[in-house]
C-alpha cells in the first residue's frame, strides 16, 4: 500500500481495505482515487462484490461520483452526503451480507434520515462477519458510543453457496457525533452465550454442535447457554449448511465473539469444539475491544469530539490489518494514535477525536 495526495484527491493503491477506504472517504469528505486494484492478478480489477458495494454506496449517499477505469484497476470516488433511506440490496453470492452491513453501520448513524435496508444473499460466510455476530457483538460496541436502538432481523437464513437468505437492518438513531470512549479496564467475563443454527440439514446437527462446544467450555465454570435455531421450509434458504456463533458477555457490556460455519464434509462435533476453543483464544487476547470490533471502535473514536479517548486492546489484536487501519486514518484525517503498554502488559490506544459533525446535520 502506498499513498500520495494529488489536488485534494487522496491517492491510494491496492485492493485491500476497499470498503473501509470508501467509508473513510465518505466520513472525512475527501475524494479518493484507488489505483492498481489487482493489477498484477490474472483477473485484474474489481470483483463483483466490490462493484455491488459501490452500488450500495450510491444508494446510501446522495451526490457521490464514482468513476471506474476501463480495466477496473482504478477507481475515483468523490463522496456525497449520507442520506440513509429504505431500500433492498441484493448481495452477490461471493460474499455474505456481513460484508455490506459492516460499512453501513459506520455511516448510517450520521445520515440524514433513518436507514432501513433489506439484504438478500448469504447470511453467514467464511470471510465476513455473520449476522449473529453483528447482532450480539458489533451492536454493543455502537451502544458504547451512544448509538442505540439498532436492529437486525433475520427473516431467512441463507447458507453458502446458493444463499437465499434475507435480513432486515434497521438503524433509526441518528447522532451528531459518537461519544468519547474511556475503557481502560479489562472486563470480567460473566456469561457465555451462543447460537447454533442449521439450514436444510438434520435438526440434530445443532444439538451435536452445542454438546461439543459446551464440553470445551465447561472447565471455565461460566454459565453457558447456547440457543438453537433450526430453519425449516421457506426460512431455510437454498443451500444446506450449519454453523455456530459463541459470545462471551462481560459485566461492562462488551462482548467477545467468534463464529464458524460448516464446510463440505465437516463434522458438527468438530466445528462446535473448534469454535469453543477459538472463543477461549479470543478471550485470552485480552483488552476491551476484540479483533472483530477493533475497526469499528477505533473509527468511532476518531470521529468523536475533540477530546482524548482511551481504549485497552490486547497485544494479539495488533496485526497488519490494524497497521493499515491506522495508516489510513492518518491519510484521511491527519491524526496519529498513541499506543502505550500498561501495567497489565496490554496496550492502551489513545485517540484525540477529530470533532467530526454529521455533514447532513450541518446543512439541516
Amino acid at each position: 500500500m502506498s499513498l500520495s495526495s494529488n489536488k485534494n484527491i487522496l491517492v491510494l493503491t491496492g485492493h485491500e481495505d476497499f470498503r473501509r477506504r470508501l467509508v473513510m472517504s465518505t466520513l472525512s469528505g475527501k475524494a479518493v482515487k484507488i489505483t492498481q486494484i489487482r493489477s498484477e492478478d490474472t483477473e485484474p480489477g474489481l470483483r463483483d462484490y466490490e462493484v455491488s458495494f459501490l452500488r450500495l454506496m450510491e444508494s446510501i449517499t446522495n451526490g457521490s461520483v464514482i468513476e471506474i477505469s476501463y480495466t477496473g484497476t482504478t477507481i475515483l470516488y468523490k463522496p456525497g452526503l449520507i442520506v440513509g433511506g429504505t431500500f433492498t440490496h441484493n448481495c452477490p453470492l461471493s460474499r455474505s451480507v456481513g460484508y455490506y452491513i459492516e460499512p453501513v453501520l459506520l455511516m448510517a448513524p450520521f445520515g440524514k434520515k433513518a436507514t432501513d435496508i433489506t439484504f438478500k444473499g448469504i447470511t453467514s460466510g467464511e470471510k465476513d462477519l455473520g449476522v449473529d455476530i453483528i447482532r450480539t457483538s458489533i451492536f454493543p460496541v455502537m451502544q458504547k458510543f451512544g448509538i442505540d436502538r439498532q436492529e437486525l432481523r433475520i427473516v431467512k437464513r441463507g447458507s453458502m453457496p446458493k444463499g437465499g437468505g434475507e435480513v432486515k437492518l434497521h438503524l433509526p438513531h441518528l447522532v451528531l457525533q459518537p461519544q468519547t470512549l474511556h475503557a481502560t479496564k479489562t472486563p470480567q467475563i460473566t456469561k457465555l452465550r451462543g447460537i447454533s443454527y442449521s439450514t436444510r440439514v438434520s435438526p440434530a446437527t445443532v444439538n451435536r454442535m452445542i454438546e461439543s462446544a459446551r464440553a470445551v467450555l465447561k472447565p471455565t465454570g461460566c454459565e453457558t447457554f447456547i440457543y438453537s435455531d433450526v430453519a425449516r421450509g421457506e426460512d431455510s434458504g437454498l443451500s444446506p449448511g450449519f454453523g455456530i456463533a459463541l459470545v462471551a458477555e462481560t459485566k461492562a457490556g462488551w462482548n467477545i465473539s467468534v463464529e464458524g460455519i460448516g464446510a463440505a464434509g465437516s463434522v458438527p462435533e468438530d466445528l462446535g469444539a473448534e469454535i469453543a476453543r477459538k472463543l477461549l483464544e479470543e478471550i485470552s487476547v485480552g483488552g476491551v475491544l476484540s479483533r472483530n470490533q477493533l475497526e469499528m471502535g477505533i473509527i468511532y473514536m476518531v470521529l468523536g469530539k475533540e477530546d482524548i479517548g482511551r481504549v485497552k486492546i490486547g497485544k494479539g489484536s495488533i496485526d497488519e490489518r490494524f497497521v493499515r487501519l491506522l495508516r489510513d486514518i492518518k491519510a484521511f484525517w491527519g491524526i496519529e494514535l498513541r499506543i502505550k503498554e500498561d501495567d497489565d502488559g496490554e496496550l492502551i490506544v489513545t485517540v484525540r477525536g477529530t470533532g467530526f459533525v454529521s455533514a447532513s446535520k450541518k446543512i439541516a
Partner: protein, 92 residues
C-alpha cells in the same frame, strides 16, 4: 531469557506503524522481534561450515597450508622490489 524478552520489545509500535518505508507485515515482524530471529537462524546455518574450515587450518601438510593461504588470505601480498613510488615522491 531476560535479554530475549527485552530484545523482543525493542521497537515502539506507535512509531513503527507510521514509518511509511516499512510495509505493515515487516512492521509487525519487527515489533514482535520475529524478523531478527529469522536472520539469526540463517547465520547459525551459515556457520555450520566452521568445523571444516578449522580442520583445514590444522592440517600438517605444507601443500595444503599453502593452498589454504592463497585461498583464504584477504590481504594481498606485495613485493616491494617491483613497486614504484609516485612521481611526486620521487622528486622530493
Amino acid at each position: 531469557l531476560k535479554n530475549f524478552q527485552t530484545r523482543k520489545r525493542r521497537w515502539d509500535i506507535s512509531k513503527l506503524i507510521y514509518m511509511d518505508n516499512i510495509n505493515p507485515t515487516d512492521a509487525i515482524l519487527r515489533w514482535k522481534g520475529e524478523e531478527e530471529d529469522e536472520y539469526e537462524e540463517e547465520d547459525i546455518e551459515a556457520e555450520s561450515d566452521d568445523d571444516d574450515f578449522f580442520k583445514k587450518r590444522s592440517s600438517s601438510r605444507p601443500d595444503d597450508i599453502a593452498q589454504d593461504f592463497d585461498d583464504d588470505m584477504a590481504q594481498p601480498i606485495f613485493d616491494s622490489r617491483f613497486m614504484t613510488a609516485p612521481a611526486g615522491l620521487k622528486n622530493a
